[in-house]
Symmetry: C2
Subunit: 149 residues, 2 copies
């Protein structure tokens, strides 16, 4: 119960990470250096496994490592006064929601395309319009309506 021990390859398999990447995370500092065997092999704990799984998921979702570091600091110190943690959480929340919205727009268009494909042709593909749409971009105003990708 106290001591699940993993080799680097176990961690790699369980999280779908390359062994090299795990070692790189250690050099980077985002993963703590584990204990070593006499021969120098790394020996990981359950905590390492959890942390690595978290990092990988966050990266897959597109958070830069720097943000992941921040989220980890947040998780590391649950007794910290709220101001900063709240700010971090809020910023990420907004980013997450924006991503969800745009992914849902893309999802809808892909569904439409796959459905249209049932009829033998790609039909007019609007994937580009869906994502090129300025509604989520910074500036812009007019909305011209053209198709020509």
């Amino acid at each position: 119960m106290s001591g699940a021990a993993y080799a680097i390859g176990d961690l790699a398999r369980q999280t779908g990470t390359k062994v090299e990447t795990i070692r790189w995370y250690e050099r980077d500092g985002i993963m703590p250096a584990p204990v070593r065997t006499a021969g120098g092999h790394r020996v990981y704990t359950q905590a390492h496994l959890d942390r690595l799984a978290f990092i990988r998921h966050a990266r897959e979702l597109g958070f830069p490592l720097e943000d992941v570091r921040e989220l980890l600091r947040l998780a590391d110190k649950p007794e910290r006064p709220c101001a900063e943690a709240d700010a971090i959480a809020r910023v990420h929340l907004e980013a997450v929601r924006s991503r969800i919205a745009r992914l849902q727009a893309l999802e809808a268009e892909l569904v439409r395309m796959v459905a249209a494909c049932g009829h033998g042709r790609v039909a007019e593909c609007r994937v580009i319009e869906v994502l090129a749409d300025q509604s989520h971009a910074h500036c812009l105003h007019d909305g011209h309506g053209g198709t020509g990708l």
Copy 2:
């Protein structure tokens, strides 16, 4: 109507892209080379603007450029028989849905944290458990339940 013309800086401003990145996209081939002025300055059309906006959104959503290229080919040839386009669309659809699901889990947890922050402390932060959760990972079975970062 036929001829909106943009300098590279206009495209950059309108899409939130760095000028260097646009030139890089051209060298890369994902953006077609525009007409030049006598002095060598690039002159873009509305089509360029749309395509760039699409590329940027797709990249923000985490698609590698190679996938973006594929989606663009899909959009470029709407008369193409369906098999390949359908396959591409389906694969991306699955990827998109998986992303949405995980982002929503993260969103829920961030909401919970921000709410808890109202009471002065970060409370138990479960951001890590939420994302470290193996439910979306490749292999794995047991689910131990520990918290340790």
